[in-house]
Symmetry: C2
Subunit: 235 residues, 2 copies
């Protein structure tokens, strides 16, 4: 191949990379049946709930708080981006085998979880993954102890209104009691706020009990005058 | 085929129908890659956002209000269940070609919709459909005028907590100004409350402005003491 041919090829690769990034930003990466079917095999290859490549687009300079460490690293099993937080802690998407890393036990600190076995966990994981572009569960793992120690869920909701816009919802924040005071809750918020912006949300919201209001207000969440949150419980 | 063979075949068909219904109730109808791939071709056949078969499970005796008419009928194009409301009004899932039935114009009565053309609408419709078991947009069409005149969205959110439970959220309720006073808003609420129960939600919630609180309280929605809804807007 001549030098000029090589240059053309490099330009093509560059163009493709830019198009892919733009595609991800616009949340257009799955648009038709063909690309969905392609997506299936990709999904099968990875055990992550969502593509960790999105972490490479996060700007730490825009974080509300500063953290000891926040360095992109490659997963030991693949070329996917994870985040090294120091102290043997890694930030990443939820994985299909996190049942074995005490994920359900972590959630039991938050609320009633009931009797969920590994099969139930994997089935729900698969269902979440089949709901393309909906569930962004971000966790922190203590890799030394092989234990998930913090979790926050971003639920991405697509709309027709607001230029076929989208909104995000934060759900089920929990930090293991032995890992509190490390700003992991703040870090998960800083990360998923940026993820929701990258995905193009025009707003994000959450529900919380009175004592946690100040915690979330630090991140720009606020009560809105005249807006009511109403609930009906079946059980 | 002998009579006994026919009976056996009828029994098998019955068993399959019951199993399918149970499957739908348990929300297990898409559980693995194989069934998902099968699902894709089914999705392509139908232009509905979700399977209208769920309407056949609705019990009108459990409605909060009574309506002039609520009769299951078959779609003219398929064997799928739609609901005849009388006065040329039909209740059904949103369809891929509802852009041509003034759907975006209907939404513009609710909030800012921006400049959304048919291609944008169809792309967003496809994305919602690819998010399996997430978007249940129920509409009322005036079939004489080929116009969508009311819409309510149920967003179904799967969880790991509460026995791998799920919750529902009601979004973007709107009724065409020329069709108010026909209890279409109440009907959509009655229908989607039951759909959320059939899907197994442990709770449903919504956000609304002060003047609409009483409307939703009629359906058992209420403010919860000490619970705060916080929002952060990016635009």
């Amino acid at each position: 191949m001549s030098v000029s041919e090589q240059n053309i090829q490099i330009e093509l690769i560059k163009e493709k990379a830019i198009a892919n990034a733009q595609d991800l930003i616009n949340n257009n990466h799955i648009t038709d049946l063909e690309s969905k079917t392609n997506g299936l095999s990709l999904h099968e290859e990875s055990s992550y709930l969502f593509d960790p490549a999105i972490f490479s687009m996060i700007k730490t300079s825009e974080f509300k708080f500063q953290y000891d460490k926040f360095e992109l690293m490659k997963s030991s099993h693949s070329q996917e981006n994870l985040v090294d937080l120091g102290d043997d802690l890694v930030l990443r998407p939820l994985k299909r085998d996190d049942f074995g890393r005490s994920y359900m036990n972590l959630l039991s600190h938050l609320t009633e979880i009931g009797d969920v076995n590994q099969q139930d966990y994997e089935k729900r994981f698969d269902q979440m993954k089949q709901a393309d572009n909906t569930y962004f569960i971000c966790v922190v793992e203590d890799v030394k102890n092989q234990k998930v120690v913090a979790s926050l869920t971003l639920v991405y909701e697509q709309k027709f209104i607001r230029h076929t816009g989208s909104r995000g919802r934060f759900e089920d924040m929990v930090v293991d009691v032995d890992y509190r005071g490390k700003k992991l809750s703040k870090l998960l918020l800083d990360v998923l706020i940026q993820v929701s912006q990258i995905l193009g949300c025009y707003k994000i919201s959450l529900e919380c009990k009175d004592p946690l209001r100040k915690h979330y207000e630090q991140f720009g969440f606020c009560l809105e005058q005249g807006q009511n949150y109403l609930c009906r419980r079946f059980i």
